[in-house]
């Protein structure tokens, strides 16, 4: 299958699923999915709504029962630590819960009503600093914007010092600037902390610009996977998403090897933006503005 066999040398795999099947309420939502996610890379799980990408993520996390195998490569001789950033938290915004409360609830033994543990508070401050949200320490969760909320969830994930970060639609419902900042953050986590990142997304501009590896889910299974730029050909995108090549312009967005991916496009194909990247100068400079 096109894109499945990448010309790139094999990269170390952090998570591999073999013949993974999930049935929920008697309906097959994932059938025989075999996928690999590269270590130290940003991996995207893409596909149409209902294709099964979130289910694959949930199976890896052990949140749904599955048949098949999930192998998670150990890190430094111990089991890899996974941390999950959920998509939309059905959180009642009137609940008096502060950012500090949430971060400490996860890490401290002392019940919250007897105060925050100084040790955990220090770690929480560090995690918030990492995601550029230190000023949110102590803020009520109910008052946060979508982007702030997402960064707090990321800080919560970082508190457990994970090796692998799994995010479900992390930028859904965030404005474009917040989206760019969040993607920069993921890139920094990969580059500076060596994290393996797996994110579910159907935002192709983000996938094109920020991810190293894609696993495409279509019709309840893995359609194709591999290096982002070589896998996401016009033909593959059309097959996965079921509509005629709505291609995202990654030539301007990436300083990377244009030629390597350009020749995969249909000849004579125009490159309309859909949706447009944050700015024509490229998302990174756009986010930093």
């Amino acid at each position: 299958m096109s894109g499945a066999a990448s010309a790139m040398p094999a990269r170390p795999i952090a998570i591999r699923t073999r013949d993974l099947s999930v049935a929920l309420g008697g309906v097959d939502v994932l059938v025989g999915a075999s996928a690999g996610f590269v270590r130290g890379g940003i991996n995207a799980l893409i596909g149409q709504n209902g294709a099964g990408k979130t289910t694959l993520l949930r199976a890896i996390l052990g949140l749904v029962p599955y048949r098949g195998v999930v192998e998670i490569a150990p890190v430094g001789g111990r089991a890899a630590r996974l941390a999950f950033v959920p998509q939309r938290v059905d959180f009642d915004r009137g609940t008096p819960l502060s950012v500090t409360d949430l971060l400490c609830a996860d890490r401290q033994r002392r019940p919250l009503f007897l105060g925050h543990s100084p040790r955990v508070l220090r770690a929480a401050r560090e995690a918030l600093e990492w995601v550029g949200a230190l000023r949110l320490l102590g803020a009520p969760l109910g008052g946060l914007s979508g982007g702030e909320f997402q960064r707090v969830l990321l800080a919560l994930a970082l508190l457990s010092e994970p090796d692998i970060l799994l995010l479900d639609e992390p930028v859904a419902g965030i404005d474009i600037k917040g989206e760019a900042l969040f993607c920069d953050l993921l890139v920094r986590l990969r580059d500076q902390r060596g994290l393996t990142i797996v994110l579910v997304s159907h935002d192709m501009s983000i996938v094109m610009q920020h991810t190293d590896h894609v696993v495409c889910i279509a019709r309840q299974s893995v359609d194709c996977q591999g290096d982002t730029l070589t896998t996401l050909t016009a033909a593959n995108i059309q097959r996965i998403f079921g509509f005629p090549a709505a291609i995202y312009d990654h030539d301007h967005a990436h300083g990377g090897p244009h030629a390597a991916c350009d020749h995969h496009h249909h000849p004579g194909h125009h490159h309309p933006h859909m949706p447009p990247p944050p700015s024509s100068a490229g998302p990174r400079s756009g986010g930093a503005a």
């Binding site: 309420g25 996390l61 996860d106 033994r109 019940p111 009503f113 457990s160």
Partner: protein, 297 residues
């Protein structure tokens, strides 16, 4: 003999001592119902604390179902008593039926996609209907029933103080152990699961303890108003707090104040204690809306 076997000796000594102290207080209302006052001191703050989760995680309807299962629990107990089984205490059948309904609702909630309110609505109606059928079929039962419906401070005796003490202590220890995990589960159950939390254990343990608390508090407030003892102080505390620690303590405080204040009010006005307690708590809730409105304005 039985008492010694069950090991209630020291506990009874403690509880009777506390009752004597309350009886010796220079207030008519304290002298009139020291047992009810002690039960209130033991249960009302705990109801406020547990109410934090009932309010924040929308469990009010769940505790309503338990309290309404009391309809058939008490009715069944009273029917057994009138049938000659004098050793049956309606408070035990009340607890048994509460546990059945509580565990059933929790299990169905965990296993199906049905909305919890639908499931509870069904369980709730069945329990009330069964209770009314039993009560209306038996004249003797009809006479004893209002005691449980509206609550009766004179129902509080040494055995029920024992239960109140054990339930109060057990719930306090439970909250010490599980408060953070319950907070995380309430925030997002999947997130809690990926953090190694066995959510099922917390779901069931919370349900069982909530049943214990609700059924223990029924003699005090009556089955119609027992949910309010959980919901109203915590709801007022929610309006007044910005962190979960604040909400926890404020809810406990409001529970205590409205519990004791309600007993005094009931004694002075010669009304049912449960009604007075809840009216006082509701008044505090109304006041709590003011700072909240000011903050928003």
């Amino acid at each position: 003999m039985t008492r010694a076997l069950l090991g209630f000796g020291p506990l009874d000594w403690l509880l009777s001592g506390a009752v004597q102290v309350l009886r010796g207080m220079p207030f008519d209302w304290a002298r009139y119902m020291p047992e009810a006052l002690l039960a209130t001191l033991l249960l009302a703050p705990v109801c406020g604390m547990v109410g934090v989760f009932v309010v924040n995680y929308r469990l009010a309807f769940f505790s309503d179902a338990i309290s309404h299962s009391a309809f058939s629990g008490v009715a069944a107990g009273l029917v057994l008593v009138s049938a000659g089984l004098a050793w049956v205490d309606p408070r035990w059948t009340l607890l048994a039926l509460g546990l059945i309904v509580g565990l059933l609702v929790t299990t169905v909630k965990r296993r199906t996609d049905l909305g919890t309110d639908t499931i509870i609505g069904v369980a709730f109606s069945a329990a009330v209907a069964l209770g009314i059928a039993l009560v209306t079929a038996n004249r003797e039962v009809q006479r004893a029933f209002p005691q449980y419906l509206y609550g009766d401070v004179l129902l509080v005796d040494l055995p029920s103080l024992r239960v109140a003490f054990i339930v109060g202590v057990a719930l306090s220890l439970y909250l010490l152990w599980s408060f953070n995990r319950l907070t995380l589960i309430g925030f997002n159950a999947d997130l809690a699961r990926t953090r190694g939390t066995r959510v099922a254990i917390y779901d069931y343990s919370f349900a069982v303890l909530l049943v214990l608390l609700v059924t223990t508090a029924i003699p005090l407030t009556g089955m119609l108003l027992v949910t309010a003892l959980l919901v109203v102080p915590a709801a007022a505390a929610r309006n007044l707090s910005r962190s979960c620690a604040a909400m926890f303590w404020v809810a406990a405080g409001i529970g205590l104040v409205s519990g004791v204040g309600g007993l005094i009010l009931a004694y002075e006005q010669n009304t049912a204690a449960g009604a007075a307690i809840i009216l006082l708590a509701t008044a505090i809730f109304a006041l709590s809306l003011i700072p909240r409105a000011l903050r928003r304005g």
